[in-house]
Amino acid sequence: MSDFDSLAQIVISGDFGGAKTLTQKMIDNGVDPLEIINQGLMAGMNVVGVRFKAGDMYVPEVMMSARAMSTGIELVKPLIADKDMPSAGKVLIGTVKGDLHDIGKKLVVMMMESAGFEIIDLGVDIDPATFVKGVKEHKPQVIGMSALLTTTMLSMKDTVEALKKEGLRDTVKIIIGGAPITQGFADQIGADGYAPDAATATELCRRLIA
């Protein structure tokens, strides 16, 4: 087995200690850092994604694989120019104003990060102005909004409107989620997409950015 295959295998098994050792060894041997990411770390993570979708891997296993991947990436990152760092895309995310529940959003963040997205997590109780400010500052390709309560989900529409008003609506894709959210509601407020769970949200982002 090549070092790339071994590294991919280590990521799949979620062995973050092993990922650190082997990545360092490959760096020391002069392997191209970008190749380490693409052919080793990300290659492993792609398999994890497929297996998770098929129901052969579970969330905590995906989390461990993601941790193994980022352990490796931490080591090679200083060796790669920022502009060359591979990224699936940049996503700005937050739980909407009035809502303090964030386990759903955290799951989405972790799943997206494990799929190679760069995530800016604004946190909970985020009002439309803060989302707008975040878009200006970070220039994400996608905004994700989460709500558990039917009372707070209405604030999602306010954010969409605020982005329109600032002329930013066309610069980003908007996705929403949470227990009371439906595709119908997403259509109604003019969001670009809705996902019922974290894995689907990740796929949705991929599709919207592609």
Partner: protein, 485 residues
């Protein structure tokens, strides 16, 4: 003369103990350690001040609660909380070993009874569910069931309370968006009870408020609770969690964390007001590690509730738990298993307030058909919970002798006298032979439950509220709406 037995123990009901007293104490001590070592986050200014003054170590919002204070507050919390019905009758004493069933609150979706279509819930759904539960004898209390999402969202909780008190006299557990809406609901309750004193004497409503796991006590969550204590209204202060996401994945760790959150609530409650009526417990649901769904009706939840009920009995504080909420999206065989085992376990353990009965899809979808079906499940569980009667009459030695070998018991008066109490009769289950079942339309239990639900909706209405009370409630809703706009 009646023959008696001496030096003999009778066991009136089955006794279920999931773990030993020593293990309960072990969980208690672990909980005390969490509160003292890790502490909790409290966002309510008055609660923070009370905790600090009582001897907690407070750093900004982080509060570490010493063990002695927790134990003192457990002693102060009432062992018995009596909840009345709308008419002020004290029908629901929450005390050790008394089990009451009811539905849950705030379902975003409902399967329409007429069309069978799943759609967003409305105020009408709250009204219909309350009428159905007002009629069905095994529902002891109600919650809103559905969200009144066709009403102004700022005051939808007020509309839900209005729909509830207008359609049932049974005790009710309410939810509130925030302190303002809670106070508005309390004023509505004052109108219904006929005065603030009457409400305090015989509260017919209970608030359900939540900490957010792990270990966060929000400003709104605590403020709503404190407002209720001012009116003498009891409060359920319990978390809804996801094992493996917002709590440790282990059952014991889940229970410790939830218990820490509930006991922190007990401490805040008793510091606010000695003897404040607080109810502990919560929804101890694991996360499905494939779909991330919340697993209600799973074996783990029932195992957790068994221990949490023992804990509440150990503390002498009433508890709030959950059963009859299933992950199946339809009322099928899976739903029957999920609901049936949970309801039976809750009954046999003697949990106090058992909510969420009649919920589908992991607490996201309501169905009056399933709500109605669960009445039979609860009936069977209660029948088993009452236990087996052992005495001279039921041992039937005289009857056995009288009938003798080769005879039969069908026409015996002993059978006639006892068959109704000795053999449970369901209202909706199918028990006929195949041919008869076909002749009667090949109906499934779901068909029969839907028929019964439709019949109740068509024919049953609860006692009407006084016109002035109804007008008064509408005014409060209108004023609150104006205040919030």
């Amino acid at each position: 003369m009646k023959k008696i037995r001496s030096n003999s123990i009778e066991q009136a009901t089955p006794m279920l103990r999931w773990v030993s007293e020593s293990q309960i104490e072990e969980i208690h001590l672990a909980t005390l350690e969490v509160l003292e070592r890790t502490g909790v986050k409290v966002d309510h200014p008055e609660a923070l001040r009370l905790l600090k003054d009582a001897g907690c170590i407070v750093n900004e919002h982080r509060v570490r609660i010493p063990s002695w204070l927790v134990e003192e507050c457990i002693r102060l919390a009432p062992r018995k909380i009596v909840v009345a019905n709308r008419k002020g009758q004290r029908v629901m004493p929450l005390e050790k070993n008394r089990t009451y069933f009811g539905t849950g609150s705030d379902l975003p979706f409902t399967v329409d009874l007429e069309t069978g279509e799943r759609r967003r819930s409305t105020k009408k759904d709250v009204e219909l569910a309350c009428r159905v539960m007002d009629y069905l004898p095994n529902y002891d209390f109600v919650m809103s069931y559905a969200i009144a999402s066709d009403q102004n969202a700022l005051v939808s909780d007020l509309h839900q309370l209005e729909a509830m008190v207008s359609n049932t006299i049974k005790p009710m557990i309410v939810t509130a968006h925030d302190e303002i809406n809670m106070r508005a609901q309390l004023e509505m309750a004052v109108l219904v009870a006929g005065g603030r004193e009457e409400l305090r004497k015989n509260p017919f409503l209970v608030l359900y408020s939540e900490p957010i796991s792990p270990l966060v006590h929000t400003n709104d969550g605590v403020a709503k609770m404190f407002a209720c204590f001012e009116y003498g209204v009891p409060v359920v202060y319990t978390p809804g969690i996801l094992s493996g996401a917002t709590t440790p994945v282990t059952k014991a760790g889940t229970i410790v964390l939830m218990n820490a959150e509930a006991l922190a609530g007990v401490v805040m409650a008793q510091l606010k007001q000695k003897g404040a009526p607080i109810i502990i417990g919560g929804g101890a649901t694991p996360m499905d590690m494939r779909s991330t769904a919340t697993l209600y009706g799973s074996p783990e939840t029932m195992m957790n509730y068994a221990i949490m009920t023992q804990l509440s009995q150990f503390y002498g504080i009433p508890n709030f738990t959950e059963a009859g909420c299933v992950n199946s999206p339809v009322p099928d065989a899976q739903a029957g298993m999920e609901a049936g085992t949970g309801i039976l376990m809750a009954q046999l353990m003697g949990a106090n307030l058992v909510h969420d009965v009649g919920y589908l899809e992991g607490g996201k979808t309501g169905s009056l058909t399933f709500l109605t079906m669960c009445n039979d499940f609860m009936d069977a569980a209660r029948y088993m919970g009452r236990g087996t009667r052992i005495d001279e009459e039921t041992l039937a030695v005289d009857v056995i002798d009288e009938v003798g070998p080769g005879g039969n018991y069908v026409a015996h008066t002993h059978t006639f006298e006892h068959f109704r109490s000795e053999i449970w009769t369901p209202k909706q289950f199918n028990r006929s032979f195949w041919d008869t079942w076909e002749e009667q339309g090949s109906k499934t239990v779901e068909d029969k439950a839907a028929e019964l639900a439709k019949e109740i909706v068509a024919t049953h209405t609860s006692e009407l509220l006084d016109e002035t009370v109804r007008t008064g409630m509408s005014q409060i809703i209108a004023e609150t709406e104006k205040q919030k706009q």
